[in-house]
Symmetry: none
Subunit: 208 residues, 4 copies
Amino acid sequence: MARNATSGTSNGGTGTATGAAVPERLLAEATRLFAGRGYDRTSVQEIVEAAGVTKGALYHYFGSKDDLLHEIYGRVLRLQTERLDAIAARPNDVRDRLAEAAADVVVTSIENLDDTKIFFRSMHQLSPEKQKAVRAERRRYHETFRSLIEEGQRDGHFRPDVRPDLVVDFFFGSVHHLGTWYHADGPLSAKAVAAEFSDLLLHSVRQP
Amino acid sequence: MARNATSGTSNGGTGTATGAAVPERLLAEATRLFAGRGYDRTSVQEIVEAAGVTKGALYHYFGSKDDLLHEIYGRVLRLQTERLDAIAARPNDVRDRLAEAAADVVVTSIENLDDTKIFFRSMHQLSPEKQKAVRAERRRYHETFRSLIEEGQRDGHFRPDVRPDLVVDFFFGSVHHLGTWYHADGPLSAKAVAAEFSDLLLHSVRQP
Amino acid sequence: MARNATSGTSNGGTGTATGAAVPERLLAEATRLFAGRGYDRTSVQEIVEAAGVTKGALYHYFGSKDDLLHEIYGRVLRLQTERLDAIAARPNDVRDRLAEAAADVVVTSIENLDDTKIFFRSMHQLSPEKQKAVRAERRRYHETFRSLIEEGQRDGHFRPDVRPDLVVDFFFGSVHHLGTWYHADGPLSAKAVAAEFSDLLLHSVRQP
Amino acid sequence: MARNATSGTSNGGTGTATGAAVPERLLAEATRLFAGRGYDRTSVQEIVEAAGVTKGALYHYFGSKDDLLHEIYGRVLRLQTERLDAIAARPNDVRDRLAEAAADVVVTSIENLDDTKIFFRSMHQLSPEKQKAVRAERRRYHETFRSLIEEGQRDGHFRPDVRPDLVVDFFFGSVHHLGTWYHADGPLSAKAVAAEFSDLLLHSVRQP
DNA sequence: GATGAATGAGAGTTCATTCAT
DNA sequence: AATGAATGAACTCTCATTCAT
């Protein structure tokens, strides 16, 4: 079980290595390493060395290696859920909200590309209970997204002959896979990808 | 590297466990186990036990554990490449060919769902050289697919304002993620998903 | 070494968990846990959690984990030594004194069954010096017991052809093993066992 | 789970270190070390170093450290059970059979003093299931012993006013504790102790 | 063609203890 | 009087791979 995470003595989260508080440093390094080598291929020893502490310190804050992964998921899930909820609650035309939600999740996925990579590659390495918890939270997120599509269908803006749940799986497959091909130093900005993915989604469902 | 892989289908009937030849049995069990537990969490011992042989036998046919994974990739890549090449070479309207190619890759991905799961989860666990080889072959596949989109754009059937490479990444994200949500015993047949994914792709790119 | 052990019974009412003073609570919980899981398998963390204090508190009162064990031995040794000395000093017939001493050590062993279990299972986990100290005290106890047998032999009440030291080892083997089979909720009261063990001892040595 | 124990390639069980077969050597060294330091304080590393092999070899033959302990128990239990069964089945007077059984278990306990020490100190460190198995076998042994006492009571040779089960616990307490005080280089031979313990037991139960 | 004993390096985790506060 | 973060060493166990047979 995660013990108490932050402790919040001081430090606003500045540096990567020795500046930040210990739990933050551990999470940051774990994220970087899990994204690079994969969860199973990253040893606890590597994490603590990268964070400049000892194993004892890690196990003081986190109950297990598994716990670190769960915490990483928690952070990104919370962030994306909050943003989607805010967008979905706006008074705009549902087409605009869907477009914005789609673009937003692409941008935040690219901004947190390490978390995105970890998400789709390592989820099945979580303990069964934690996996269940993460899936439940993810399902809530997908349901909110799906409800936008359903709303658009009721309004007559979106085609009625598509299954909203399949559209969600279709789109989030694309989003989760950003980590396999997107590179920050490539020709495409996060915004450019977001605009294009959002556009593809909208065209795929809109009433012609 | 794989030494001699299959040796054909004969076998002479000496097999201890099931009917098939030893290398086939090993590949089949490895595929099943890798899909279930992941590559790193599947031990060579488990594979040989499931196949009813000993470690020595495995290392007689395959040079390493890594080699098994590479062989699995090889099979599915060969299959999908052949099918795509055949579809792309037909004389039909490019919209029909794209629709058919999209539907076909969905169906074969679902029919080989274990391979699909392994593909996107375990690619980064291959040795660097083998990873490079697989990526190269995959790129060829994507290029063929992309050329269909480019052809449609030249013909005026598809919107000119989308980047063909992004469309490919968009669509194959969806395909690779089938393994995370599709269940054979669910309400949707492989064909139904294929039809819908293909339809979503076509709508997302066609000239309105 | 124990620093100041008890500090009396007062406590001022500041205790966080139950009523008793901190060192007593620690000893009580340690006894319970050592008897249940064994010394090596009980962590300092478990002890302090059971007692409702922190590690710092434990190390304030006791110099080490080893020290706790030594203190537990000290208590039960002091108790049993006092009682035996009192019984041995009475003016009764030596047969009655031996019978009473035997019955008494059985009763107090059962009443402090946790200590009994710890005694014979964990003695060798004490540090060498402490082990020596405990053994010396135990030897004194055995010598007092043995002198009763020798006295009975001189008086002609007990058979002269038995070795008193062997009788002591014979009998205390039985006593120390109470912890392995006696259960408070079984059919036998402490007194019943005490009566029978005492009777068996007396029959084994008395002059027929 | 214990895998296959012996393998019996050659070697009649001569030496302690490098002569004997690997599993035998491991068991012998484990017995010596467990008796000396206790189960929990003996590391797997120490065992394999003493046996001159690597950890992998140990885990090739034994499923766990726990398994080694179980195997040690198995050997001594089997030996003592066989001997008791043989003695109990003889046609002699029951008093002679009880005396012989008592003396025999003392002699074999002293001859295998390491096993005896381990038995009473480390039983509770076995996994619950294995503990149950050992206890069941031990119970059978005790029942055979108890049946001798019951037979003697029916014949009128032994006092009817003692509980046979308590006599068994009484006597085997003494036997199990041999390990705490007996030293091979002391003044008493195994036979001398056996004769005296057997004599004490017989006097404690016989009809005066 | 196939065995299985053995290796050796490294995995995650636990723990008694210390010490600045 | 008491905290709790942090240490560092040791723990049991796993694993892909090799090689004499």
